[in-house]
């Protein structure tokens, strides 16, 4: 995986989180983001971001990070 590709995924995940922050509770926002990722991201993209969140995750904003942690329950990280 190139860095450019991962950078894009991180940026996209953060952007989705930023656009869903306005909910009553943070857990609601997290759920919106998780649902969005589940519904619209390809399997490979999910696996890549999950792998990143598990190993590093620094560049993800808090809502995105939690959402991807949720995602990790269903999608195994990408195998190298």
């Amino acid at each position: 995986m190139t860095n450019a590709q991962l950078d894009h995924l991180i940026r996209m995940a953060n952007q989705i989180a930023d656009n869903n922050t306005h909910h009553d509770t943070e857990s609601e926002a997290v759920e919106m983001v998780t649902t969005h990722l589940k519904k619209f991201w390809a399997r490979a993209m999910k696996q890549q971001i999950v792998e990143y969140a598990l190993n590093d995750g620094q560049a993800l904003n808090p809502v995105a990070k939690q959402a991807i942690d949720q995602l990790a329950l269903h999608y195994a990280p990408a195998s190298k």
Binding site: Q5, D18, N19, K39, F40, A42, R43, A44
Partner: protein, 964 residues
């Protein structure tokens, strides 16, 4: 007694017949007798029309049923019992008990005298006249029995008036003009441009374009309405002058924009002589624009790809091969890639220009034969946020109205759209409604032409900063709620209360007030309040929006904001209101409906929905992936990362139309097999290994769906240039991949679509043949389709207010890139321009230019025509300058119709958060004077020459083969 009948359904009268004056919409019936025949017609009908309905054809010259009657030729004089004089039938409405005589000695004599006067000033060169056989003056001379002309031709006349041939598509020959003013009225009433005038009076009167300019220099937009309405050869298509009158015609649908105009392709053998907008077409009602009417010559252009071609690598010349060889070559490569790199290593792109049937087959091939969901379409880069936003709020990914519904709107709100250029026929309909008294609000960074429509009611322009749409719509909604302008009854009965309450408290937050948002949008708070009141206080408020809404980092949010506003004001579910996306290309709606997106099967059914997927699995006989596939930008990223290796592209030019060209090119170069199916060697094909000749809309059968969900038939008028319609090629490729497809005709593909997509279940070619067109949903509940959506409820039950928090785009002006670039299009060119650049439409727009505000120009010492280097964080290109006050200072503007301009070299990969629709409408740039093309452009030229020579070799090879 004969009742008035609807000519569309129950009459022997052909839709093509000119009934003389427009229909009256009155519900009151009036009874009268004409030449002893009793009949009843709606109040307000003219005598001329009433007579025509019972096939009594009163001679006429200045009347036509698409124009208001003018009463100037007097040829239609009739006698009315008990009334003095001989009134003109076209300007006299019927009344109860009226007794009309249309033929007697007195009338015949009068008509002959009139004709004699006309003919005395008319060149009698009928045999060599291009209108010969299709001239109303000729017909009338015959009808009134004109036998001699006593005045001679030597007196003062117009016979040697000079021709105006400035327009590339039609000629104005004033020597043949009878000054009936039909052209003037067509330009005003049908097109709304007011380019023509009648100069002088009486005998000396003549028709002139603008202030005695020629047509090309005048305000004329070359829509052709005047040409169509001219009863003589005065205004005539050059194609008819050159080739003669057509002998047969076929009704079909325009392949340019999302208006989806119906046309009669008028033919001579298999040659199209002219395209005439079809009166029976419900979207366009007999009108068209310069693209659809005139720009069809590309179909027979010498650049058309006529044989399949292949090559092993993209730096090699092409080789012409048979269809079998090209298909086998592609299938083998795709299979090999999948064997080496896995099932998900290839994908495909469907086209918004191809038919529904073709699009459906391509996504089916990808899902069933490739075995993954890596399908996407160019709608990704234009209207994907519409799908997301409208589905979330209203429950269906489509506009809510018919075009015609605008004729009942009281306030028309246009956001980020430029209808007079991008959707010209609909633009004319809006203008007509404005002249009738509707208010206009335009939210757009640019001063669009619609704003210059002369009308009496209120016009407001909200020139917001690019990228601040959501701030604007929130301030709008804030005003509506805080001033109590909502439609509480509608909200109570039609909307989800929990969502509403949540939204209400959100929108009332101070951050969303017009005063707080003014700093962001640059639009004064008072202007926003005025606009909100103007929209919410009228009976019918209608919203139309375009790519200026969707192509933003918050495109989806903005679409939801628009839907919120319509919900809050109850502007949904009836005529005259609604939320209407103006689709760019002809079949954007259809390509989305047909399951082109990686997460949705045809009919917007999610791939993870087990029931829906199950039905597809059963019908297609395969197991389908339950995970979404890659979107176009994800495919590119994955290609550069080395995972994604093969692509089947039908009818799209991603190398030109997608943002950040250099990134796209790198991705294409990284692939091992790119199969491009197109009518020309497009930019993407320069990176391809297989080139499969496509067919134009004139060469195939199928359907398109326009922006009002209208399914229109596309009919074949000539044989495909390379022997196959596009759907046949996809069938062959699927079979070669080992997945069997067996269709004899596109109608069978539509039957399959109807069996799988619930909103299409009632659609069939037979029904389309019968009805002309159908607006989906068309199913058991709505067997004849659904012109207006959401009348009783929403597909999701209750309307859903969505929270639309404004989040500033990352693409901001800064010290390095202090200006904001926004992009758009113009009337004469279409999208990437592959078609229109190969027609005389070039006359109007031979290059893309950069529009710069005088203030920014002065600061940089820029003058009209200077070469400008434009750089962004993605790249650099060079365009010519045009100093213009259409934008505010700080904003520059260009179009992207020409590949060499490289407008997309500078657009970035910033995109909509929900759908990855690229943010074309905002790029931070710097502009400076330069002396030479950019490096990208120089490379582009080099590559272009190389690839053209590769193509030439391929073509030569074929000729040698054929000769040998």
């Amino acid at each position: 007694m004969l009742q008035y009948f609807n000519p569309k359904t129950d009459t022997p009268i052909s839709i093509d017949k000119d009934l003389g004056t427009p229909p009256s919409l009155s519900e009151n019936q009036v009874s009268l007798s004409i030449d002893g025949v009793e009949l009843s017609v709606p109040e307000g009908t003219s005598i001329l029309r009433a007579a025509a309905l019972i096939d009594i054809n009163i001679p006429k010259l200045c009347a036509s049923d698409n124009l208001e009657a003018f009463g100037s030729c007097r040829l239609c004089a009739v006698q009315v019992e008990g009334q003095r004089g001989l009134p003109a039938a076209c300007t006299t409405p019927v009344h109860d008990g009226m007794q009309v005589t249309t033929q007697n000695y007195k009338l015949a004599k009068l008509r002959r005298n009139i004709m004699e006067l006309y003919i005395s000033d008319h060149p009698l060169d009928c045999l060599t006249c291009p209108a010969n056989g299709a001239c109303e003056l000729q017909d009338m001379a015959g009808a009134v029995g004109l036998r001699e002309v006593r005045y001679g031709f030597s007196g003062e006349n117009h016979l040697d008036a000079e021709k105006d041939q400035s327009n590339p598509y039609f000629t104005f020959d004033p020597s043949k003009c009878i000054v009936c003013s039909r052209c003037v009225r067509a330009c005003e009433e049908v097109q709304g441009t007011f380019a023509l005038t009648v100069d002088n009076r009486g005998f000396g009167s003549t028709i002139a374009a603008g202030q005695k300019e020629d047509f090309l220099e005048s305000d004329c937009v070359s829509c052709g309405a005047c040409v169509q309405s001219c009863p003589t050869a005065t205004l005539m298509e050059n194609s008819v002058i050159d080739q003669g009158q057509p002998e047969h015609s076929v009704v079909t649908t325009c392949a340019y924009c999302g208006v989806g105009c119906s046309f009669k392709a008028e033919m001579k053998g298999d040659q199209v002589i002219r395209m005439v907008p079809y009166k029976g077409g419900e979207a366009n009602q007999g009108h068209a624009c310069v693209k659809g009417r005139f720009a069809f010559g590309y179909a027979t252009h010498k650049d058309r790809i006529k044989t399949p071609m292949i090559r092993d690598a993209i730096d090699q010349p092409w080789r012409s091969v048979s269809w079998e060889e090209a298909i086998a070559f592609s299938a083998e490569r795709f299979k090999k890639i999948q064997a080496e790199h896995g099932r998900e290593s290839i994908g495909g792109i469907t086209s918004s220009r191809c038919t529904n049937e073709e699009t459906y087959l391509v996504q089916k091939l990808i899902r069933a034969a490739f075995g993954n969901n890596n399908t996407d379409t160019c709608a990704r880069v234009c209207h994907s946020p519409t799908g997301y936003g409208l589905k979330t709020t209203l429950g269906e990914s489509a506009g809510t109205q018919t075009f015609d519904s605008v004729s009942q709107a009281d306030t028309i709100l246009v956001i980020g759209a430029n209808p007079t250029d991008a959707h010209p026929v609909f633009g004319s309909m809006i203008r007509k409604r404005l002249r009738e008294g509707a208010n206009l609000i335009v939210a757009d960074p640019r001063q669009i032409d619609l704003l210059s429509t002369a009308h009496r009611s209120t016009t407001l322009h909200l020139p917001l900063r690019p990228g601040t749409n959501v701030a604007l719509i929130n301030a709008f909604a804030h005003t509506v709620v805080s001033e109590g302008l909502e439609d509480n009854a509608f909200i109570a009965s039609r909307c989800d209360q929990k969502a509403y309450q949540k939204w209400r408290s959100f929108i009332l937050e101070e951050q969303n007030s017009p005063d707080a948002m003014a700093a962001i949008t640059g639009v004064p708070a008072e202007e926003i309040r005025k606009a909100a009141r103007l929209y919410a206080n009228v009976k019918n408020g209608a919203i139309f929006y375009g790519l200026g809404v969707t192509e933003h980092s918050q495109g989806s949010t903005m679409v939801m904001g628009i839907a919120n506003l319509a919900l809050a004001t109850g502007n949904l579910g009836r005529e005259g209101v609604g939320v209407n996306p103006l689709r760019g290309q002809n079949n954007v709606q259809g390509s989305c409906d047909m399951g082109s997106f990686p997460h949705e099967l045809p009919g917007y059914q999610h791939v993870a929905d087990e029931q829906a997927r199950g039905r597809f699995e059963q019908a297609w006989g395969v197991t389908l992936d339950d995970e979404p596939g890659l979107r176009i930008p994800n495919m590119f990223d994955s290609a550069i990362a080395g995972h994604f290796k093969g692509l089947y592209v039908q009818g799209e030019d991603i190398a030109q139309s997608d943002p950040n060209t250099q990134h796209v090119e790198a991705a294409l170069k990284a692939m091992e097999c790119v199969v491009v199916q197109d009518i020309f060697l497009n930019e993407t094909a320069k990176f391809a290994h297989v080139l499969l000749p496509g067919s134009t809309f004139l060469e195939k059968n199928g359907t398109f769906i326009n922006a009002e969900r209208r399914i229109n038939r596309v009919r074949k008028v000539m044989a495909p240039i390379a022997g196959k319609e596009d759907w046949e090629v996809t069938v062959d490729l699927a079979n070669a991949l080992g997945y069997s497809m067996d269709y004899q005709h596109p109608s069978q593909i539509m039957d399959e679509i109807a069996s799988l997509a619930p909103t299409f279940s009632g659609v069939s070619y037979a029904l389309l043949e019968d009805q002309g067109s159908i607006q989906w949903p068309c199913n058991e509940q709505h067997p004849m389709g659904t012109p207006i959506m959401h009348v009783d409820d929403f597909p999701i039950g209750k309307g859903n207010f969505a929270i639309t928090q404004y989040v500033a785009t990352e693409e901001r002006a800064n010290r390095r890139f202090p200006l904001l670039l926004t992009t758009g299009r113009i009337l004469s060119q279409y999208n990437v321009g592959a078609q229109t650049r190969r027609t005389d439409n070039q006359t109007w727009h031979a290059e893309d230019v950069l529009e710069v505000h005088p203030h920014d120009a002065e600061e940089r010492g820029i003058q009209d025509g200077d070469w400008l280097g434009i750089s962004s964080r993605a790249g650099q290109t060079v365009l010519r300058a045009k100093v213009s006050e259409r934008m505010q200072p700080g904003v520059v503007y260009t179009t992207f119709h020409h590949p060499g301009s490289g407008a997309n070299v500078i657009t970035t990969d910033s995109s909509d958060w929900a759908t990855n629709c690229p943010e074309y409408k905002v790029t931070a740039v710097q502009v400076e004077k330069v002396s030479q093309p950019s490096e990208w452009q120089q490379n582009f030229e080099r590559l272009n020459q190389q690839q053209q020579s590769h193509l030439l070799k391929g073509r030569k090879g074929r000729q040698e083969k054929e000769a040998g």
